[in-house]
Subunit: 511 residues, 2 copies
């Protein structure tokens, strides 16, 4: 046998062995190695910051229904008139000096713990949709079964680093008991980091009790195992429910995200620069409040941006203005040295079609290039957040793998420079069979089960399916293959007993 | 009547008048005001450049079938061995000192002329597809009728600044006469800048003769009214046909784009850094050759990047590696101070679905953020360039309007800062009806006829159409509304007479 035939056979065996290596089931959180889009110069950022401080001092912000919090503001030096708080210039920035620039958000499987802040990027799924959609059963109210399925899919998606909170509303569970099933499902069906219960303060307390059963009291006292998203009721109002939530999480050292949910033209000015000043004022005040309650508690700067159609009043996403806002939000948060979250694959489309993908991709790619640390709604969002799409989740999750690779930058090693390959192949040759390609082909490009690159004829033979139709097959296959991550039986039983007890003591309330 | 009712009525009348203003039919070329993604640092760029120079000197490049060009290289100081040319380090950079950093590409309507280079961004449609696709008639060979229709749609798309060349192949026209109908259609149906004929040198000559009939000899001698895309036969070969084309355009001072059409892993190394060194070597050599032929003739750095699937050998687009390559291509061209083109809305999808949009958007947005000056294939591309989609063209063109707005940056004027609006509305108010919104709502967001933001119920009532289905309605309506731009009758007659004469003197060759 010739030497080269030998080499070929060895190469083939090696490739066969490599193909048998276990498939990637989970990627670590992203450590960004690409530079950032810095849309505004220092002068522009100064201007926005200055406007925010002026808004807080001159116009003020309402903190409704919570005398304790008004007292905290007064003690910190703010001018409190009824429920309106005028915050002197510089007070918030001073208060935020105790906020950590980054922290670890622990998962029950330590390998799944993620860094929030710095150069880290973490993807979490859609949250909060009352409806679900799939190609088989169409659009309908979400159920606990749907939530369990979606959580399984999230667990199996390699570039979903975080399990989020409620990838759909389980509307068949009593609203006052829903948080118990949500947290249990997240703990039982995934081992990724999770968000805590929203809603009433008592529900938040109970969800943190459940986290304590999983992690142990000592660990929870010193580490972040849960977080909450506190929405500002824009413009410039924090209401009682949100402040209650904020207090529960802040006092237990769990992370609080302050997110003004602003649609420009409705809850904020119709112009981006104006909206950003308002949003910055609101996040500054909210995050400072956390520090006033518990100095050093982790906070996250929340930047959720959409617009309102001036023709119909409907929310719109994936616009140029939304992209501009995202870029500046990243810059403003970095100036404060505080982690930042964004919305991700946002769209107002009803179905996982071209509009959905165009809008979602624009928001996702802009997020990654804007240094966003935690991207919520990064997979599954449809119809302005009213619907979680099974197929959309799969399609977005596939793109997240691509975005992870994009964010991790370019390989400039000697191997990647490939000078030997160029010498070997030379003018007019081809690289398909060269040594360098054989050595690198497995890791050269990201792989996708979803993307179709076949010929037209092959595609026809396979049923000329759209991406949505292929995604439909994939999620059904994934649910068949799903295996629950191991969970200590003692913990499982304790959680179930807790839930049973709580459910027994409350009447069902369905909405 | 109260003062405020007065104001409301006046506002309503004003809005009604504004709605009646003529719709935007064309946007000027983009003057980029957002910063650039600078993926590699200086050290990385030095490394790529250094590798390119080493490739040219040590490995060399083949210039096949043209002794004249080998002579030019020899005279310039290269080491010519047969058809292989070893170009000493520094020679290309020296030769490129005569290449203009930017120039005007003239349209027959002076208002449509575009700047190529600097901070300008110009969008041109898909080129070169033998097939077309629409939802009514499916996938089929392109005809002259299709080409005329596509050219009409390009003319009517506001953010398509350039008409390109052959948005589909009119396969029902004899291949040796096709260029005549292509150029005539572009001149007659649009008044945007156009690309000249490719193919044989005689066809290129004839297409430039036709441009001379439109613009006049004196004007063409001194100005760019046409351009050609010269593909390097990667790796490292320029073949005879391409060099003939290059010579025709370079000698008449028309712009030459040097585009290595590289699919990484096939015509270039499987790693991005290696592929970039090769691509840079090839463009350096091609653009230098133009300067050796006619110092000062305009050249464009061409960066078309895809990959080859290591599973199937099929071309793939919109990958993370493609995005990395695009970003660096922008940097390398800027270092040379030479305009740069890219592919645009590339995808291997067969239909204008989510995959098509995800892949296309990733390439388009990355192009814009990478400082690409001329984006070819920015609308209509399907199936790796084999197919031009009518619906895809409409969907992409809609996104181009968004990208134009994105690239033009954020408004930081006092009006945009909206401090008066924030004072007027205050905590807990809403911005929909405030003075600032009324004053700005028409220009606040880009408008789209294609994007659906309605409620689910409304969407259902209107026939629950996908984006592709809506695009189908739009292009048919556009063709109904199309009006040809005026063309001087003398010019029109001269062109027709020229075509008749040329067609009479050649036999039909259909392929």
């Amino acid at each position: 046998m010739s030497k080269s035939a030998h080499r070929t056979r060895r190469g083939r065996e090696k490739r066969r062995a490599e193909r048998k290596r276990p498939r990637v089931t989970q990627l670590p959180y992203i450590q960004r190695k690409i530079p950032l889009m810095e849309l505004l110069n220092e002068e522009g950022l100064d201007q926005i910051e200055n406007n925010s401080e002026q808004i807080l001092e001159e116009i003020g912000m309402d903190f409704r229904g919570d005398p304790e919090i008004l007292g905290l503001w007064r003690d910190a030096g703010a001018d409190v008139q009824g429920e309106r708080v005028h915050i002197p210039r510089g007070l918030c920035k001073q208060a935020l000096k105790t906020a950590p620039s980054q922290f670890i958000h622990y998962a029950r499987n330590p390998e799944r713990s993620v860094q929030i802040g710095g150069d880290a990027i973490v993807f979490a799924p859609v949250a909060g949709a009352p409806f679900v959609f799939d190609l088989d059963k169409g659009r309908r109210y979400g159920t606990l079964q749907d939530f369990q399925n979606l959580t399984r899919l999230v667990q199996m998606s390699p570039a979903m680093h975080h399990a989020g909170y409620f990838s759909c509303e389980p509307t068949d569970v009593a609203v006052n008991q829903r948080h118990l099933d949500l947290i249990y499902t997240l703990v039982r069906y995934t081992d990724k980091p999770i968000i805590g219960a929203h809603g009433q303060a008592s529900q938040a307390e109970e969800s943190l009790l459940m986290s304590r059963m999983v992690f142990g009291d000592d660990f929870v006292d010193d580490n972040v195992v849960s977080m909450v998203n506190v929405n500002v009721n824009s413009p410039l109002v924090l209401d009682e429910t949100m402040m209650q939530l904020l207090k529960v999480y802040a006092r237990q050292n769990q992370a609080v995200i302050i997110t003004p949910a602003v649609l420009t033209g409705a809850m904020g000015p119709v112009t981006v620069a104006g909206c950003l000043a308002q949003l910055h004022a609101e996040t500054l005040a909210g995050m400072s409040l956390v520090q006033l309650i518990n100095p050093g508690a982790p906070v996250i700067y929340g930047g959720f941006i959409g617009s309102v159609s001036m023709q119909t009043g409907a929310p719109t996403f994936g616009t140029a203005e939304n992209a501009h806002a995202l870029m500046v939000i990243g810059q403003l948060a970095r100036r404060l040295n505080i982690p930042v979250r964004s919305g991700g694959a946002l769209t107002s489309s009803k179905t996982a079609d071209a509009q959905a993908a165009y809008e979602s991709m624009q928001m996702m790619l802009t997020s990654v290039m804007s240094g966003i640390n935690l991207m919520f709604h990064s997979a599954g969002w449809l119809e302005g957040g009213l619907v979680t799409g099974y197929e959309k989740l799969i399609i977005d999750a596939d793109r997240l793998v691509m975005l992870q690779r994009l964010a991790e930058g370019i390989d400039m090693s000697e191997n990647a420079q490939a000078m030997e390959a160029l010498r070997e192949v030379g003018p007019g040759g081809h690289f398909l069979g060269c040594n360098h390609t054989q050595k690198n082909y497995l890791s050269a490009f990201q792989d996708s089960k979803l993307t179709d690159t076949s010929s037209f004829e092959q595609w026809q033979t396979e049923g000329n399916m759209t991406t949505e139709q292929r995604a439909n097959k994939i999620w059904k296959q994934m649910l068949k293959e799903y295996e629950a991550p191991p969970l200590d039986v003692t913990i499982d039983e304790a959680l179930q007993a807790f839930i049973q007890e709580k459910k027994a003591s409350t009447a069902d309330v369905l909405i």
